[in-house]
Protein backbone atom coordinates (compact mmCIF):
# COMPACT_ATOMS: atom_id res chain seq x y z
CA UNK A 1 0.00 0.00 0.00
CA UNK A 2 1.79 3.10 -1.19
CA UNK A 3 0.35 5.54 1.26
CA UNK A 4 1.15 7.97 4.01
CA UNK A 5 -0.63 8.82 7.25
CA UNK A 6 -1.94 12.38 7.57
CA UNK A 7 0.82 14.37 9.31
CA UNK A 8 0.67 17.66 11.25
CA UNK A 9 0.52 19.61 7.97
CA UNK A 10 -1.73 16.98 6.44
CA UNK A 11 -4.80 19.22 6.29
CA UNK A 12 -2.89 21.89 4.37
CA UNK A 13 -1.51 19.28 1.96
CA UNK A 14 -4.97 17.79 1.45
CA UNK A 15 -6.57 21.20 0.88
CA UNK A 16 -3.89 21.95 -1.73
CA UNK A 17 -4.42 18.58 -3.40
CA UNK A 18 -8.20 19.10 -3.41
CA UNK A 19 -7.77 22.30 -5.45
CA UNK A 20 -6.61 20.35 -8.52
CA UNK A 21 -9.42 20.40 -11.09
CA UNK A 22 -9.90 18.21 -14.13
CA UNK A 23 -9.77 20.03 -17.46
CA UNK A 24 -13.35 18.91 -18.17
CA UNK A 25 -14.65 20.13 -14.79
CA UNK A 26 -17.33 22.79 -15.00
CA UNK A 27 -19.82 24.70 -12.90
CA UNK A 28 -21.47 21.55 -11.58
CA UNK A 29 -18.17 20.35 -10.09
CA UNK A 30 -17.64 23.79 -8.54
CA UNK A 31 -21.17 23.76 -7.10
CA UNK A 32 -20.72 20.27 -5.62
CA UNK A 33 -17.43 21.31 -4.01
CA UNK A 34 -19.02 24.54 -2.72
CA UNK A 35 -21.80 22.48 -1.15
CA UNK A 36 -19.17 20.28 0.51
CA UNK A 37 -17.32 23.40 1.69
CA UNK A 38 -20.55 24.58 3.32
CA UNK A 39 -21.56 21.39 5.12
CA UNK A 40 -18.05 20.85 6.45
CA UNK A 41 -17.54 24.52 7.43
CA UNK A 42 -17.78 24.20 11.20
CA UNK A 43 -16.43 20.69 11.60
CA UNK A 44 -12.94 19.97 12.97
CA UNK A 45 -10.28 20.97 10.41
CA UNK A 46 -8.96 17.44 9.81
CA UNK A 47 -12.44 15.95 9.28
CA UNK A 48 -13.43 18.78 6.92
CA UNK A 49 -10.18 18.61 4.93
CA UNK A 50 -10.48 14.84 4.50
CA UNK A 51 -14.08 14.98 3.25
CA UNK A 52 -13.30 17.82 0.80
CA UNK A 53 -10.20 16.06 -0.52
CA UNK A 54 -12.04 12.76 -0.89
CA UNK A 55 -14.85 14.41 -2.83
CA UNK A 56 -12.42 16.39 -5.01
CA UNK A 57 -10.66 13.13 -5.85
CA UNK A 58 -13.96 11.40 -6.67
CA UNK A 59 -15.03 14.22 -9.01
CA UNK A 60 -11.65 14.21 -10.73
CA UNK A 61 -11.70 10.43 -11.21
CA UNK A 62 -15.24 10.50 -12.60
CA UNK A 63 -14.26 13.26 -15.05
CA UNK A 64 -11.18 11.28 -16.03
CA UNK A 65 -13.39 8.22 -16.66
CA UNK A 66 -16.35 9.87 -18.43
CA UNK A 67 -15.14 13.39 -19.36
CA UNK A 68 -17.82 15.96 -20.16
CA UNK A 69 -20.53 13.23 -20.07
CA UNK A 70 -20.04 12.94 -16.30
CA UNK A 71 -21.88 16.21 -15.57
CA UNK A 72 -25.34 14.65 -15.16
CA UNK A 73 -24.00 11.78 -13.07
CA UNK A 74 -22.02 14.12 -10.78
CA UNK A 75 -25.05 16.35 -10.26
CA UNK A 76 -27.33 13.36 -9.61
CA UNK A 77 -24.90 11.79 -7.15
CA UNK A 78 -24.55 15.09 -5.29
CA UNK A 79 -28.29 15.74 -5.06
CA UNK A 80 -29.14 12.17 -4.02
CA UNK A 81 -26.42 12.33 -1.39
CA UNK A 82 -27.66 15.51 0.33
CA UNK A 83 -29.63 13.71 3.09
CA UNK A 84 -26.61 11.51 3.85
CA UNK A 85 -24.29 14.56 3.82
CA UNK A 86 -26.52 16.34 6.34
CA UNK A 87 -26.88 13.22 8.51
CA UNK A 88 -23.09 12.77 8.50
CA UNK A 89 -22.61 16.45 9.36
CA UNK A 90 -25.14 16.18 12.21
CA UNK A 91 -23.40 13.11 13.64
CA UNK A 92 -20.02 14.85 13.47
CA UNK A 93 -21.38 17.99 15.14
CA UNK A 94 -22.93 15.93 17.93
CA UNK A 95 -19.57 14.26 18.47
CA UNK A 96 -17.89 17.69 18.67
CA UNK A 97 -20.57 18.84 21.14
CA UNK A 98 -20.03 15.79 23.35
CA UNK A 99 -16.30 16.46 23.52
CA UNK A 100 -16.60 20.23 23.93
CA UNK A 101 -15.72 21.90 27.24
CA UNK A 102 -18.64 22.96 29.45
CA UNK A 103 -20.21 26.32 28.64
CA UNK A 104 -19.12 26.47 24.98
CA UNK A 105 -22.54 25.48 23.53
CA UNK A 106 -21.17 24.44 20.11
CA UNK A 107 -24.62 23.50 18.77
CA UNK A 108 -26.96 25.85 20.65
CA UNK A 109 -25.09 29.11 19.96
CA UNK A 110 -24.89 28.73 16.16
CA UNK A 111 -28.53 27.55 16.11
CA UNK A 112 -29.64 30.64 18.08
CA UNK A 113 -27.59 32.95 15.86
CA UNK A 114 -28.99 31.36 12.66
CA UNK A 115 -32.53 31.67 14.00
CA UNK A 116 -32.08 35.37 14.82
CA UNK A 117 -30.45 36.01 11.43
CA UNK A 118 -33.34 34.28 9.63
CA UNK A 119 -35.84 36.40 11.59
CA UNK A 120 -33.93 39.56 10.62
CA UNK A 121 -33.81 38.57 6.94
CA UNK A 122 -37.55 37.79 7.01
CA UNK A 123 -38.28 41.17 8.61
CA UNK A 124 -36.06 42.96 6.06
CA UNK A 125 -37.60 41.06 3.17
CA UNK A 126 -41.08 41.99 4.33
CA UNK A 127 -40.17 45.69 4.60
CA UNK A 128 -38.45 45.83 1.20
CA UNK A 129 -41.34 43.96 -0.42
CA UNK A 130 -43.85 46.43 1.11
CA UNK A 131 -41.76 49.44 0.03
CA UNK A 132 -41.25 48.07 -3.51
CA UNK A 133 -44.96 47.35 -3.84
CA UNK A 134 -45.80 50.82 -2.56
CA UNK A 135 -43.39 52.47 -5.00
CA UNK A 136 -44.71 50.41 -7.93
CA UNK A 137 -48.34 51.36 -7.34
CA UNK A 138 -47.35 55.03 -6.83
CA UNK A 139 -48.38 55.03 -3.19
CA UNK A 140 -44.98 55.85 -1.68
CA UNK A 141 -44.72 59.24 0.00
CA UNK A 142 -41.91 58.52 2.43
CA UNK A 143 -38.33 59.79 2.39
CA UNK A 144 -36.07 58.08 -0.12
CA UNK A 145 -33.28 57.57 2.42
CA UNK A 146 -35.56 55.50 4.69
CA UNK A 147 -36.29 53.11 1.81
CA UNK A 148 -32.63 53.03 0.75
CA UNK A 149 -31.44 52.29 4.27
CA UNK A 150 -33.94 49.41 4.48
CA UNK A 151 -32.56 47.92 1.26
CA UNK A 152 -29.00 48.31 2.56
CA UNK A 153 -30.12 46.67 5.82
CA UNK A 154 -31.57 43.69 3.94
CA UNK A 155 -28.41 43.28 1.86
CA UNK A 156 -26.30 43.37 5.05
CA UNK A 157 -28.64 40.89 6.76
CA UNK A 158 -28.27 38.48 3.82
CA UNK A 159 -24.49 38.93 3.80
CA UNK A 160 -24.34 38.43 7.57
CA UNK A 161 -26.46 35.27 7.37
CA UNK A 162 -24.13 33.87 4.72
CA UNK A 163 -21.04 34.77 6.78
CA UNK A 164 -22.62 33.10 9.80
CA UNK A 165 -22.45 29.76 7.99
CA UNK A 166 -18.65 29.93 7.92
CA UNK A 167 -17.32 29.16 11.39
CA UNK A 168 -14.24 31.37 11.15
CA UNK A 169 -16.25 34.41 10.06
CA UNK A 170 -18.93 34.30 12.74
CA UNK A 171 -17.51 37.18 14.79
CA UNK A 172 -17.50 39.40 11.70
CA UNK A 173 -21.00 38.12 10.82
CA UNK A 174 -22.19 39.31 14.24
CA UNK A 175 -20.94 42.85 13.49
CA UNK A 176 -22.56 42.89 10.03
CA UNK A 177 -25.84 41.63 11.47
CA UNK A 178 -25.72 44.24 14.25
CA UNK A 179 -25.56 47.00 11.60
CA UNK A 180 -28.30 45.29 9.59
CA UNK A 181 -30.49 45.04 12.70
CA UNK A 182 -29.98 48.75 13.43
CA UNK A 183 -30.98 49.75 9.90
CA UNK A 184 -33.89 47.33 9.54
CA UNK A 185 -35.48 47.91 12.92
CA UNK A 186 -34.71 51.60 13.46
CA UNK A 187 -35.41 52.84 9.91
CA UNK A 188 -37.30 49.83 8.55
CA UNK A 189 -40.15 50.48 10.97
CA UNK A 190 -40.49 54.03 9.60
CA UNK A 191 -40.35 52.71 6.04
CA UNK A 192 -43.08 50.22 6.90
CA UNK A 193 -45.17 53.01 8.37
CA UNK A 194 -45.09 54.82 5.01
CA UNK A 195 -46.54 51.76 3.28
CA UNK A 196 -49.46 51.12 5.61
CA UNK A 197 -52.28 53.47 6.51
CA UNK A 198 -53.38 51.34 9.46
CA UNK A 199 -49.83 51.11 10.83
CA UNK A 200 -49.45 54.91 10.50
CA UNK A 201 -52.75 55.44 12.32
CA UNK A 202 -51.72 53.00 15.05
CA UNK A 203 -48.31 54.70 15.38
CA UNK A 204 -49.80 58.19 15.61
CA UNK A 205 -52.18 57.23 18.45
CA UNK A 206 -49.29 56.33 20.72
CA UNK A 207 -46.24 57.97 19.19
CA UNK A 208 -44.13 58.21 22.35
CA UNK A 209 -44.62 54.55 23.24
CA UNK A 210 -43.97 53.42 19.66
CA UNK A 211 -40.76 55.45 19.44
CA UNK A 212 -39.66 53.98 22.76
CA UNK A 213 -40.57 50.46 21.59
CA UNK A 214 -38.66 51.01 18.36
CA UNK A 215 -35.55 52.14 20.23
CA UNK A 216 -35.72 49.32 22.76
CA UNK A 217 -36.18 46.71 20.01
CA UNK A 218 -33.33 48.23 18.01
CA UNK A 219 -31.08 48.30 21.05
CA UNK A 220 -31.92 44.72 22.03
CA UNK A 221 -31.29 43.38 18.53
CA UNK A 222 -28.02 45.30 18.10
CA UNK A 223 -26.83 44.16 21.54
CA UNK A 224 -27.73 40.55 20.74
CA UNK A 225 -25.69 40.51 17.53
CA UNK A 226 -22.79 42.41 19.15
CA UNK A 227 -22.78 39.82 21.96
CA UNK A 228 -22.61 37.08 19.36
CA UNK A 229 -19.67 38.84 17.71
CA UNK A 230 -17.95 39.15 21.10
CA UNK A 231 -18.70 35.48 21.91
CA UNK A 232 -17.01 34.22 18.78
CA UNK A 233 -14.17 36.74 18.99
CA UNK A 234 -13.16 35.60 22.46
CA UNK A 235 -14.02 31.91 22.20
CA UNK A 236 -12.12 29.42 20.09
CA UNK A 237 -14.25 27.41 17.70
CA UNK A 238 -15.79 24.45 19.53
CA UNK A 239 -14.04 22.01 17.22
CA UNK A 240 -10.65 23.41 18.22
CA UNK A 241 -11.53 23.44 21.91
CA UNK A 242 -12.73 19.85 21.70
CA UNK A 243 -9.58 18.80 19.87
CA UNK A 244 -7.43 20.50 22.50
CA UNK A 245 -9.29 18.93 25.39
CA UNK A 246 -8.99 15.54 23.66
CA UNK A 247 -5.27 16.10 23.28
CA UNK A 248 -4.88 17.12 26.91
CA UNK A 249 -6.74 14.08 28.28
Amino acid sequence: MSAVTLGPDGEVELEASARIRHRAAGRVDAAVLAWCQWYTADLPDDVAAERRAELASDLFEEREYSGARATGSILGRAVRGIPADLAWRGARLRRVALGAPRGTFPLAMPALAHLAAIALVAWGGFIVWRVARSVLIGDWHGAADVAELSVVGLVLALAGSWLLMVARRRAFAGLVLAIAAYLLIRFGTYALMETSVSFTAFFSTSTAQMVLLNRVATGAAVLFFLSIAAWWTSAKPAAESAAESDGAS
Binding site: M1, T5, S17, L55, S57, G81, D85
Partner: protein, 117 residues
Protein backbone atom coordinates in the same frame (compact mmCIF):
# COMPACT_ATOMS: atom_id res chain seq x y z
CA UNK B 1 -33.55 3.59 4.69
CA UNK B 2 -33.42 0.06 6.12
CA UNK B 3 -33.36 -0.18 9.92
CA UNK B 4 -30.05 -1.47 11.27
CA UNK B 5 -30.17 -4.54 13.49
CA UNK B 6 -27.61 -4.78 16.28
CA UNK B 7 -24.30 -6.12 14.95
CA UNK B 8 -25.64 -6.57 11.43
CA UNK B 9 -24.64 -4.78 8.23
CA UNK B 10 -27.06 -2.95 5.94
CA UNK B 11 -27.21 -3.78 2.24
CA UNK B 12 -24.88 -1.02 1.06
CA UNK B 13 -22.26 -1.96 3.65
CA UNK B 14 -22.32 -5.59 2.52
CA UNK B 15 -21.99 -4.46 -1.09
CA UNK B 16 -19.07 -2.15 -0.22
CA UNK B 17 -17.23 -4.92 1.60
CA UNK B 18 -17.86 -7.37 -1.27
CA UNK B 19 -16.76 -4.91 -3.95
CA UNK B 20 -13.83 -3.80 -1.81
CA UNK B 21 -12.58 -7.35 -1.35
CA UNK B 22 -12.75 -7.87 -5.13
CA UNK B 23 -10.93 -4.62 -5.87
CA UNK B 24 -8.17 -5.13 -3.34
CA UNK B 25 -7.59 -8.66 -4.62
CA UNK B 26 -6.46 -7.05 -7.88
CA UNK B 27 -5.06 -3.68 -6.85
CA UNK B 28 -4.16 -4.11 -3.18
CA UNK B 29 -6.49 -1.31 -2.17
CA UNK B 30 -9.32 0.79 -3.57
CA UNK B 31 -10.55 4.39 -3.61
CA UNK B 32 -13.97 6.05 -3.64
CA UNK B 33 -14.72 6.39 -7.34
CA UNK B 34 -13.36 2.92 -8.21
CA UNK B 35 -15.60 1.51 -5.49
CA UNK B 36 -18.66 3.41 -6.77
CA UNK B 37 -17.98 2.12 -10.27
CA UNK B 38 -17.55 -1.47 -9.09
CA UNK B 39 -20.75 -1.26 -7.02
CA UNK B 40 -22.68 -0.10 -10.07
CA UNK B 41 -21.12 -2.83 -12.26
CA UNK B 42 -22.01 -5.54 -9.72
CA UNK B 43 -25.60 -4.30 -9.49
CA UNK B 44 -25.90 -3.83 -13.25
CA UNK B 45 -26.87 -0.20 -12.58
CA UNK B 46 -25.94 2.83 -14.62
CA UNK B 47 -26.18 5.35 -11.76
CA UNK B 48 -23.29 5.45 -9.31
CA UNK B 49 -23.86 5.54 -5.55
CA UNK B 50 -24.36 9.13 -4.31
CA UNK B 51 -21.27 10.82 -2.87
CA UNK B 52 -22.86 11.44 0.53
CA UNK B 53 -24.23 7.90 0.83
CA UNK B 54 -20.97 6.25 -0.21
CA UNK B 55 -18.62 8.23 2.02
CA UNK B 56 -20.97 8.12 5.00
CA UNK B 57 -21.12 4.32 4.71
CA UNK B 58 -17.32 4.10 4.37
CA UNK B 59 -16.92 6.31 7.43
CA UNK B 60 -19.29 4.05 9.39
CA UNK B 61 -17.39 0.93 8.32
CA UNK B 62 -14.09 2.57 9.28
CA UNK B 63 -15.46 3.41 12.74
CA UNK B 64 -16.41 -0.24 13.20
CA UNK B 65 -12.92 -1.32 12.11
CA UNK B 66 -14.21 -3.14 9.03
CA UNK B 67 -12.22 -0.99 6.61
CA UNK B 68 -9.06 1.04 7.12
CA UNK B 69 -7.82 3.98 5.07
CA UNK B 70 -4.70 5.94 4.37
CA UNK B 71 -3.97 8.89 2.11
CA UNK B 72 -2.00 8.18 -1.01
CA UNK B 73 1.58 9.41 -1.18
CA UNK B 74 1.36 13.02 -2.44
CA UNK B 75 4.23 12.50 -4.88
CA UNK B 76 2.28 9.84 -6.81
CA UNK B 77 -0.78 12.08 -7.14
CA UNK B 78 1.43 15.06 -8.10
CA UNK B 79 3.18 13.00 -10.75
CA UNK B 80 -0.16 12.04 -12.30
CA UNK B 81 -1.55 15.59 -11.89
CA UNK B 82 -4.63 14.67 -9.86
CA UNK B 83 -5.91 15.04 -6.27
CA UNK B 84 -4.68 12.52 -3.73
CA UNK B 85 -6.77 9.38 -3.35
CA UNK B 86 -7.91 8.01 -0.03
CA UNK B 87 -6.97 4.37 -0.24
CA UNK B 88 -9.15 1.86 1.56
CA UNK B 89 -8.64 -1.77 2.51
CA UNK B 90 -11.13 -4.22 3.93
CA UNK B 91 -9.64 -5.42 7.23
CA UNK B 92 -9.61 -9.00 8.47
CA UNK B 93 -12.59 -8.16 10.68
CA UNK B 94 -14.33 -6.70 7.63
CA UNK B 95 -13.80 -9.88 5.61
CA UNK B 96 -15.12 -11.99 8.50
CA UNK B 97 -18.15 -9.72 8.94
CA UNK B 98 -18.83 -9.86 5.19
CA UNK B 99 -18.75 -13.67 5.12
CA UNK B 100 -20.94 -13.93 8.22
CA UNK B 101 -23.47 -11.46 6.84
CA UNK B 102 -23.71 -13.08 3.41
CA UNK B 103 -24.09 -16.53 5.01
CA UNK B 104 -26.84 -15.27 7.31
CA UNK B 105 -28.61 -13.66 4.41
CA UNK B 106 -28.38 -16.85 2.36
CA UNK B 107 -29.95 -18.82 5.24
CA UNK B 108 -32.67 -16.25 5.90
CA UNK B 109 -33.57 -15.62 2.26
CA UNK B 110 -36.59 -17.80 1.37
CA UNK B 111 -36.10 -20.10 -1.58
CA UNK B 112 -38.43 -19.24 -4.49
CA UNK B 113 -39.36 -22.96 -4.65
CA UNK B 114 -40.63 -22.94 -1.02
CA UNK B 115 -43.66 -20.92 -2.14
CA UNK B 116 -44.80 -23.93 -4.22
CA UNK B 117 -43.88 -26.63 -1.69
Amino acid sequence: MPRRREGRLVGLEVDILGAGIELQAGEGDFYGFALAKRLADRAGATALTAHGTLYKALSRLAERGLVESEWEDPSIAAEEGRPRRRLYRVTGAGAVAYRAETEQRAVLAPSPRSAFA
